[in-house]
């Protein structure tokens, strides 16, 4: 068994565990997009095992579709987290213009860090992959930063589940950003595969963190008798 297949199997095991926890504790009701993303990961993981032996250029096409789906899901999860924050902070308005403005600001800041260089010797498909991965990484980190700034500026509290999911996503997004920059500077093609493995391992770290967190039971009631006595 290669390291890649071991990582894939461990990842699928963790996703199954997370899905089981979500179903048993009915968390999927409040986080449906995150739950659907885990099902998507399970399906693409299984499909990845089936197309393992394909020639590299065909496998890269599969990987491009997989990566696009992953990143669109991650953006949808960040929007879901934003809605969760609004639900948690009752009596507040969305102010989407402020969120969009902060996203543009964060995207400009992060893209100035990433240094868009694509190796000249890469094939067109590889170039497309590198550009797409850079763009998605920047959008992911920018969306996360915009969400953090937006909630901080408006003084909004984060519900615990959403905060833990953002922690995992933030860790993965920062490692992915570092990986993109490392790819840009090293550009040794297949020899740099260890960078991708580190990136996937960081996602396994985030998955393990979520499994451990959601496996712990959490008291739901936030309003104590004392608080009820103070506020009418």
């Amino acid at each position: 068994m290669t390291l890649d297949s071991a990582i894939l199997l461990i990842g699928m095991g963790l996703v199954v565990a997370l899905l089981a926890i979500f179903v048993s504790s009915r968390i999927y009701r409040t986080l449906p997009v995150f739950f659907s993303f885990q099902i998507w990961c399970l399906c693409t993981g299984a499909a990845g095992m089936a197309v393992w032996r394909l020639p590299p250029h065909l496998y890269l096409r599969f990987f491009l579709v997989n990566m696009t789906g992953d990143d669109l899901f991650l953006l949808a999860i960040l929007i879901e987290l934003g809605r969760g924050i609004l639900r948690h902070n009752r009596k507040t308005q969305a102010r989407s213009f402020l969120a969009i403005l902060l996203f543009v600001l964060a995207a400009v800041l992060i893209s100035s860090l990433a240094n868009w260089i694509v190796p000249a010797h890469a094939t067109p498909l590889e170039k497309f992959y590198l550009i797409l991965s850079q763009a998605f990484t920047i959008v992911r980190v920018a969306a996360l930063l915009a969400l953090v700034w937006w909630s901080s500026l408006r003084g909004l509290r984060w519900p615990n589940h959403e905060l833990q999911i953002a922690t995992g996503l933030g860790f993965y997004a920062v490692v992915a950003l570092a990986a993109v920059i490392a790819h840009t500077h090293l550009s040794n093609g297949a020899k740099d595969h260890w960078i991708d493995q580190i990136q996937v391992l960081s996602y396994l770290g985030a998955l393990s963190y979520w499994v451990l967190y959601f496996a712990k039971s959490e008291p739901k009631s936030e309003i104590s008798v004392h608080k009820r006595e103070i506020f009418c």
């Binding site: 902070n89 009752r90 860090l113 003084g155 905060l163 922690t167 920059i181 506020f231």
Partner: protein, 172 residues
């Protein structure tokens, strides 16, 4: 060689910022009313600027007087920090009471944001040109909004938790 080092340093800064933000978000989830009261800065009070502080909006001072009475950047920084704490207090009240007025809460959010922006602008100007006319005008505007926010906060507490108003008035 310098570019990769700068990029890695910038990513480390982003990571550090996210770690600090997460710590603050977790602390905020665990805070109590008493811990919020304890976070209000007692070393300067806007009573120096208004006879009706906490009850009515407005100042009894000109921009020049206000700058002197707020002890320059010290008073500005206290307003910056207290605006945030008052916003968290309003948020705390909204979570624990069904009767908090939505419009009042939104006004407090807006007040806190405007005060902080105004204070940061005044402090930045102060850094370049000390107590110039522009600094004093910005500080005066921040203080005016601060008295308005404090009065609205008192009103919110009176309507929803009158028993804790004395503690709030003493802390401010």
């Amino acid at each position: 060689m310098i570019l990769p080092v700068l990029q890695i340093a910038a990513i480390a800064c982003v990571a550090l910022y996210l770690v600090r933000w997460r710590g603050a978000a977790r602390r905020r989830n665990a805070q109590t009313w008493d811990s919020l009261l304890a976070r209000l800065r007692p070393d300067w009070s806007a009573r120096e600027l208004s006879d009706h502080f906490l009850w009515k909006e407005g100042l009894n001072a000109t921009p020049e007087d206000a700058w002197k009475r707020m002890e320059g950047p010290k008073g500005l920084w206290v307003m910056y920090q207290n605006a945030r704490v008052m916003l968290e207090m309003a948020d705390y009240a909204a979570r624990n009471s069904e009767t908090v007025d939505r419009v009042l809460l939104e006004t407090l959010r807006s007040d806190a944001m405007q005060i902080r922006v105004c204070v940061l602008m005044a402090l930045a100007q102060y850094g370049f040109s000390k107590a110039s006319e522009g600094v004093r005008v910005n500080a005066f505007r921040a203080a005016q909004m601060y008295t308005g926010m404090a009065a609205r906060m008192t009103q919110l507490l009176q309507e929803n938790a009158a028993v804790i108003v004395p503690d709030f008035v003493a802390a401010m």
